[in-house]
Amino acid sequence: MSISGSLNNALSGLAAASRSAQLVSNNVANALTEGYGRREITLSGRVLDGGGAGVRVDAVTRAVDQGVLRDRRFADASFGYALGKSTFLEKLSALVGTPEQDQSISGLFRSLESSLITAASRPDSDTRLSAVAAAASELAKAMNTASDGIQEERLNADRSIALLVERLNDGLQMVQEINAAISRLNGAGRDVTGLEDERQKVIDSIAEIVPVREVPRDDGKVSLYTEGGAILLDDSPVTVDFTPVNFVTADMTLGSGALSGVSVKGVPMATSGNFAPLGGGTLAAAFEVRDTLAPNAQAELDAVARDLVERFEDPAIDATTAAGAPGLFTDGPGVLLAPNEVGLAGRISLNATVDPARGGTLRLLRDGFGATIPGPVGDATLLSNFADALNQLRAPASGSQAGFGQTGHSLSANLSSNIAGDLAIAERGTGFAAAERQSLRELEFSGGVDTDQEMQKLLLIEQSYAANARVIQTIDALIGELLSI
């Protein structure tokens, strides 16, 4: 029976060779597929009654370096987090503008000052007075636009949180289904590598939203935990809850209850701080934009707006108005009251009494806001006082520059500088995260399909197949010999 034994051995060799060829062809076909785990075949000798009996295909495995995979996923999450923050800061810098641009807030402070100087030289010129009104109005409008832009970014962040939470929940559900399918097929002894590829892709997309750790369980299943320690999937997936809003204004915050956070089964989950359960990815970045970065930017802008309004409310500037009367800039239609500072930048406007576009009288810029009869057309006192007020060293009452005396223009320059400084730091962080991510991706790709190696394997497989076929031929000849007796 050794001849039939040899035949069986040879046949098992053929089977192994063709299985190997199948794997090689699969690998070569997927050489360009990202996320494809290079298939490797494990062969071992088959044992029957203590003796060798051919070759057996042990298993088909995916050659994936779990360490590199985990690091790369973490780098993806970090990059997403850094990018979310730096994108917002870029937009903020564009909204406020940088001093070399004439249309920036800083540039409009400059035009207001220079229009006051030229108007003081010829206060009788209506052209120059309307240039002052226009410059002041443009400055107020630029602040309004910047404030609106910041709140819009908060709304966008809120919307993207809703989207990310939906994606997270869907992803966890999908991993659960694939887990079930894998454990079923494993039980039946079938090839699960295709499903494992799928699962890796889904977990990759989850890992950008929240950094995850993948922990293998029995039967080929996996559990998912976040880096912060929260359970995302362990036998069954969690559902993350979030309630989006339709509009966002400056006074709406997480603390006031107007905006929602994320929670699981009613328990709120933090996205920022050390070991935050859902921190570190694009979800955390969106929350940081909505709840920290944007409100801080709004507060700084409001502080500049407040300083601008209060500068001109000094009763010594205009002899025709009483103390407490509104100055050149107003909070919407009225006087600024300290508790109303939140969102002031969105409401600041030129005093309507001197705005011709809103029924005001231009000459009051020269005669005084409370002047009932026209004064001498050559009186430049009030205009000079306005210019002085703009240039006076005054400590703002709020914001990061509070307590440091500065002129109106230097306050705006500091605003731009602080934003630029934050942006530079954030961009450096993003650059570093991007570089780390790139090098880990490269490392991951290095473990992928190498067509040269597959070709070399193919050479061996060809040889092995030919050799086994030759053995079968020989055995056939032997049997033939036997039969021709």
């Binding site: 100087i117 050559g378 230097s410 500088s417 630029a420 530079a424 992928g448």
Partner: protein, 335 residues
């Protein structure tokens, strides 16, 4: 883990990334070269815009001060011209009036007083002149003339002095009319009581560029001319001796007034000098701030061109390497 193979994607990924990076560098440098400005000014200032903001503000305010200084210079120049003309006229008249000694010179007196009347009108016209649409001797009332019509004023003066008997009476009455609070300020002067506000021509430099027709030196000159012009109106008509005395007194007054006008002119000259010093300072500051600003924001064309060339060379090398590496595959060597 020792790698026995390196995946296809790895090398390709790196080459693609490097090509993209060099390409974006190339386009950025080309942009900088053509526009002359750095593309990332935030990086150029290291995130701190305060110095650049200060420079921009200074440049813009210096422009505005330039406008103000030019307007002030124009006004002072015009004022000087007016005062010069008045002073010359007053001086010439004074000389001819002082030649009047006695009755035989009554002819000279008559011509001189007629001349005085028209000189008064000329002085009023000069003081009413406006430059670039504003009156320069009306204080803060830029929009209107400084003085009322000359004839009307002289008529008012003539009516106000009543019927004096002697030259001294006339002189006292004229003094009273032209003194502060008198008929001149009430009826003839149309400008503002308050002087024109000082003009800011540079940071921290204010100049009083405009005078008023009520300035004492100008009033003295007008007084002298008016006193002589009254004789043409027929004051003291019955007493030729008094008329001659009045004429001589008017001549003496005009001589003093001429000195006063010269003093006023030198005061205005000082103001003019301050304005031109401020203008010179502004120009110097402007050019140095301009240089400082372009140091920060402009891209040096030579350096940019060199970097552009090296980026080009790098990209070419990258293309050659990519081509070579793609040819190195075992597949090409099997059969």
């Amino acid at each position: 883990m020792t790698l026995t193979s390196i995946g296809d994607l790895a090398q390709n990924f790196q080459l693609r990334r490097d090509t993209a990076r060099v390409n974006s560098d190339l386009s950025r440098l080309a942009n900088e070269l053509s526009s002359g400005l750095k593309s990332d000014i935030g990086a150029a200032v290291g995130g701190d815009y305060r110095a650049l903001a200060g420079l921009e503000r200074s440049l813009e305010t210096l422009d505005a001060y330039g406008v103000a200084a030019a307007e002030a210079a124009l006004a002072t120049e015009a004022s000087q011209n007016v005062l010069q003309r008045i002073g010359d006229g007053v001086g010439a008249l004074a000389n001819s009036l002082l030649l009047v000694q006695g009755l035989p010179d009554s002819q000279l007196l008559d011509t001189s007083t007629r001349d005085a009347r028209s000189q008064f009108a000329a002085a009023v016209a000069g003081l009413n002149s406006s430059v670039a649409g504003r009156s320069i001797f009306a204080g803060q009332n830029f929009q209107g003339p400084a003085l009322d019509d000359a004839e009307t004023t002289l008529g008012n003066l003539f009516a106000a002095i009543g019927t004096p008997a002697t030259a001294n009476d006339v002189l006292t009455a004229v003094d009273a009319w032209f003194s502060p609070g008198g008929g001149f300020e009430a009826t003839a002067y149309l400008g503002s009581g308050a002087p024109a506000t000082p003009v800011r021509v540079a940071d921290g430099i204010e100049v009083a560029a405009l005078r008023q027709a009520t300035d004492p030196e100008i009033v003295e000159a007008l007084k002298g001319l008016a006193t002589a012009a009254l004789l043409d109106f027929g004051v003291l008509s019955g007493t030729p001796d008094e008329r001659i005395a009045l004429g001589r007194a008017a001549g003496e007054r005009m001589l003093t007034a001429q000195d006063g006008l010269i003093d006023l002119q030198s005061e205005i000259g000082v103001v003019q000098e301050r304005i031109s010093r401020a203008q010179a300072r502004n120009l110097a500051e402007q050019s140095s701030y301009d240089i400082a600003r372009s140091d920060i924001v402009s891209a040096d064309p030579y350096e940019t061109a060199t970097r552009l060339q090296s980026a080009e060379a790098q990209l070419r090398t990258l293309y050659v390497v990519t081509g070579r590496l793609s040819g190195l595959s075992l597949v090409n060597y099997l059969r």
